[in-house]
Amino acid sequence: MMGITNVSGNNGFIAKAWRALASMRLFCILAFLIAFWFSAALLLYLKYFALFKEIDRNVLIDWLFSKSLFGDPVRIWLLGLIALIALLGLNLAACMLDDFAMLLRLLKRKNGSSRFALSKLSILVVHLSYIIILSGHLTTAVSGYRLTLDIAPGKTIGGAPVPFTMRCDKAEIIVGMRGRLMATGVMTMNPGRDNEEKIVLKPGKSIWYNGVMIDMEAKTKRKASPGGAIIKFAPADATPAVRLTKNYGLYLDAVGGIIFFIGIIMRMMFRKEQSI
């Protein structure tokens, strides 16, 4: 690895390409480009919000390939975002290898400052956390499932891919704040081992059961309205539904988040003045 990353004195094509890939300049350019790209989504959202809502209800990769890749502006935007983030991932990975190589060199020095080595280690930890968080988002985008299933008292749902079945004992629509319709219900869960268990699903609260996130929603044919004005419906206009979400990427996101905060704290403790 030292051979790959220690290229400061080498002017060959690979060395130059490596330096460019691991450079802070590339990171900055990508960061501002991605920020701009997300800003563009705020404009796209105004016209294509229904497509963005569709993404929320599906695993990203399934949604992306469910129609022609260049069929609508949101898909094109998303492809651009994926390309930019993939480049950012490569840039971060290259930076991390450089950081690691430098850290090894520092540790080999007998008269080196341990504070400086810890400062470099903190950069490595922060970059590592970004890689893990990006991996978490990638995992979320390509795995798991998101199901929205209609429910009514007496109806049983579940089964593959969900590792349990749930029978609805009670489901009702209630009117929440600002006339918002919400759903609540009582379910009997059966994970297949004859140990049934009752759970209460409250509006606005997700619960975890056997690694699956469950929450209830009131399904209406509501039209989106800009500016916060919520179209009021009567409870009879809505039907209760259960959302079942399996998101493997959450675990990586959680680990990445913890490592990120450890890295930030280390950075604040060991950084030189006037530096990141």
Partner: protein
């Protein structure tokens, strides 16, 4: 209780207005700075009194309604100004910061009228912490933008000879970024524990949080890039702050689709 809180809220407007006028109109440098320091100390004390009253009597400590986020914002900004005042040669950033305090204090009173009691955020602690950290980070970015604006138009006249650029312009961005990371963390927990059911959704507020996070992440690295213009960092600081104000108080009010 209500009378004292109302008086305290209005006194914040008076104090921030007085700090602004002191920064602009008092001629003697040391007299102006002493006046601003005293006024901001009063401002901090008034905020502390409001917080103590909410704690003692309010139904929803520490936020009574969602516009109290301005309270944490102004609290933070007044403390930042007090902390960095020494390293500033020019009074112009102090005047800009005081005007931001004034606007946010006034907006807090307007908010208290339009929404008397907060309904949503107190239900979930993560939501409450999200609001607090969002406004704290915004004020760090605001202070950096105030200093940067002066540095952009009057280069070299912002900092004292001993003052370092990083102290007043750069460090607030760093602390703001860290506060924003906490905001993201609590926002994710809020989204996860509420009916959103995930840490990330393709909604406008989430998309904008991504803009802010990566924008300031890039900005923190920008000054280390050789041959990039010196004015890039201050220009980015000013643009970043206005971008957030535009989103939080204009786009989200008129264009957010719910």
């Amino acid at each position: 209780m209500e009378f004292i809180v109302t008086a305290a809220l209005w006194s914040r407007i008076a104090l921030s207005a007085a700090a602004f006028f002191s920064a602009v109109f008092i001629r003697g440098e040391s007299a102006a700075r002493s006046a601003i320091r005293a006024l901001l100390l009063f401002f901090v004390a008034v905020n502390a009194i409001i917080l103590a009253l909410y704690f003692a009597y309010g139904p929803n400590f520490p936020l009574n309604h969602k516009y109290d986020g301005f309270f944490f914002g102004t609290f933070t900004l007044s403390l930042i100004v007090l902390l960095y005042m020494k390293s500033l040669k020019s009074r112009a950033p102090l005047a800009i910061a005081a005007s931001i305090l004034l606007v946010f204090s006034a907006a807090g009173i307007y908010g208290a009228k339009v929404e008397a009691v907060m309904r949503l955020t107190n239900m979930i602690p993560a939501a409450l912490l999200f609001v607090i950290f969002r406004d704290v980070s915004l004020m760090f970015f605001a202070f950096s933008a105030a200093v940067s604006a002066v540095e952009l138009f009057r280069p070299g006249k912002t900092f004292t000879p001993t003052g370092r650029m990083s102290d007043a312009m750069y460090s607030p961005v760093l602390w703001g970024f860290i506060a924003f990371c906490f905001c993201q963390l609590f926002g994710s927990l809020w989204a996860l524990s509420s009916s959103y059911g995930d840490v990330w959704l393709w909604k406008q507020s989430f998309l904008f949080s991504a803009v802010v996070w990566i924008y300031y992440g890039g900005m923190l690295h920008a000054r280390y890039i050789p041959k990039w213009p010196e004015k890039l960092f201050p220009a980015l600081a000013v643009f970043g702050f206005f971008m957030q104000i535009f989103y939080l108080y204009y786009y989200s009010a008129y264009f957010e689709i719910r």
